[in-house]
Amino acid sequence: MGQFLLETVWLVPCYALIGGLLAVPWSPGIIRNTGPRPAGYVNLIMTLLAFVHSAIALQLTWNHPPQQVFIPWLSTAGLDLTIAIEISSISVGALVVITGLNFLAQIFAIGYMEMDWGWGRFYSLLGLFEAGLCALALCNNLFFSYIILEVLTLGTYLLVGLWFSQPLVVTGARDAFLTKRVGDLFLLMGVLALWPLAGTWSYPELAEWAATANVNPTIMALVGLALIAGPMGKCAQFPLHLWLDEAMEGPVPSTILRNSVVVASGAWVLIKLQPVLSLSPIVSSAMVGIGAVTAVGASLIAIAQIDVKRCQSYSVSAYMGLVFIAVGVQQDEAALLLVLTHAISAALLVMSTGGIIWNSVTQDVTQLGGLWTRRPISGIAFIVGTLGLIGFPPLGSFWALIKLADGLWETQPWLVGIIITVNALTAVSLTREFCLIFAGKPKQMSERSPEAHWPMILPMMILLGFTLHLPLVLQSLSLLPDWATLNKDVALLLIWSSISGCSITALIYLGNIPKPIRLPWKGLQDLFAYDFYTPKLYRMTIIFSVAKISQLADMIDRFVVDGIVNLVGLFSLLGGESLKYSTSGQPQFYALTVLLGVSVLGVWVTWPFWGVQFLDMIFQISTIR
């Protein structure tokens, strides 16, 4: 039975997909009488099934070598596209995380979406996402990973655009689709260019190839840069980060997933591609550079936001930047650990604030306050999520961050500095959110704000428990570094940066400094608040040039191409219109025409008999003169 469950673990994405399909009939246009709620329940059951299946399979994979399952898909001349599925503890572990977080987010959504009719659409898209992410986790082939990433991009478009009657949702969904699409298309270029080099798209074979490959460094750098462009868009890295900000227009339960797992899908592919990417030092340093810039920039932006969802989305970008750094310095395990701990903590943070938004209506942190006494559970969840996200010793991310920093301590100490900075800045931004929402005096929007009802609190509590138990779980699986061999300096620095970040911010926001806080330089504050004016930057560069080229191409099409063809017609029309005057109505003119025709024909026919002599004669006459 157990072995059977292990071998059929590829069914997990199918459960989710079936759940998504089963939700469709409860769209308001199909089943008109019962209301949309069964869509959610059906989906929840399928997700639970997927979770249980993958959890059992995870136990069975432990301490077993990874297995591969092959499903033939398409075989044409010279190209064999076989879906490769990896059943290892890492991939099945990822299934457990994805289905588990999905299960909790779907319970949360039952509470959150109570007053909404769009459950059919919402849950079917959640099912699609769950299926896509599970398939991505299992997929052991770059080509199919790309396919799934594209499906997820389409899913993002539809899910962000759930409430499409709001104009900002429409623009946000558009940007989310196009930005991720651009990255994915670059990824496609890389994927296609990798085939002639490596001759395979299977991750293990790529790793084998990369171990002994001898490729032109320029080619490898270009291919590698294309390959990181896809994850760059997916993980909302600079400069493809604006979509995540605008994707916060979507419903909160989907945000839980987006912040925790969807964004990590790019990181997953990046980690899998690490052996190929490490072939080129340029690509590695580009990854580190992008990651570092994003991590620092996004955590600075997160501090300056007033929209609570956007505060958190920029923290997500920052942490994905750390994952980029980790992959850039070939620390896969630290990257995977960071993705895991970040996913759980970020989901907990979004659940906590999602509950606040649900019955305080506003998302503006400057209009909230004083919720601690009335909403302790959300507050505790936020605190635990914060501590789980920043480097705070017993909890998850500490171990991931220290693992990463430990490996860099000797070789690239400045990267440790960036990690510490990002950690401190994230501590500042999360503490600021906490102080603004939960501490201080209640403001108008938060004066009467009861705790949310059980479907929203229950998943929050479960996740809170899991966040707290994550170190124990990791320890029992012996995934944590040994305390004795740890670099105590790094650990102290991390802890110190977290504590000082939290405490200084708490002092600022709980103290008597006048609110809202103004930096001495208003320009700098605005720069961060408007995320470096990225929308303007897009509009002035890419959008501007594409729009201009489109207009030019349109004009060329309209005037030059169409014009040439129309000119032919116009000329024949003009020819007819003007040549008709040759029919003058004068019989004498006709007679002249006949005569001219006859004489020209006569000259032409008889030319060989006298033409040369005629020309000679003319020539002689002219020379005599």
């Binding site: 109505g585 004068q586 004498q588």
Partner: protein, 101 residues
């Protein structure tokens, strides 16, 4: 006396006739110019029959036919001119441009 002179004379007469046909405004003068053309042709026929075919003189037979047909044609032509004149009260060729584009 040579054949070429007769032919040149006939060609000159023909050209004068052509000029008359194309430039005259009076319809009767056009008919008269046509007669010139026919007479130029007759000169050709007579000259050829005289110089090249003096025994069988087929050219002269042709000439007789041409004169006959020319007379008939002139009669029909004048009748047409008269018919037009009755309708339009003029024989000016430039007034007869109704059948244009």
């Amino acid at each position: 006396m040579q054949l070429q002179y007769f032919l040149l004379l006939a060609a000159a007469l023909f050209c004068i006739g052509i000029y008359g046909v194309i430039t005259s405004r009076n319809a009767v003068r056009v008919l008269m110019s046509i007669e010139l053309l026919l007479n130029a042709v007759n000169l050709n026929l007579m000259a050829f029959s005289n110089f090249l075919d003096s025994t069988l003189i087929k050219g002269q037979v042709f000439t007789v036919f041409v004169i006959t047909v020319a007379a008939a044609e002139a009669a029909v032509g004048l009748a047409i001119v008269l018919a037009i004149y009755r309708n339009r009260d003029t024989v000016d060729m430039e007034q007869f441009n109704l059948l244009k584009w």
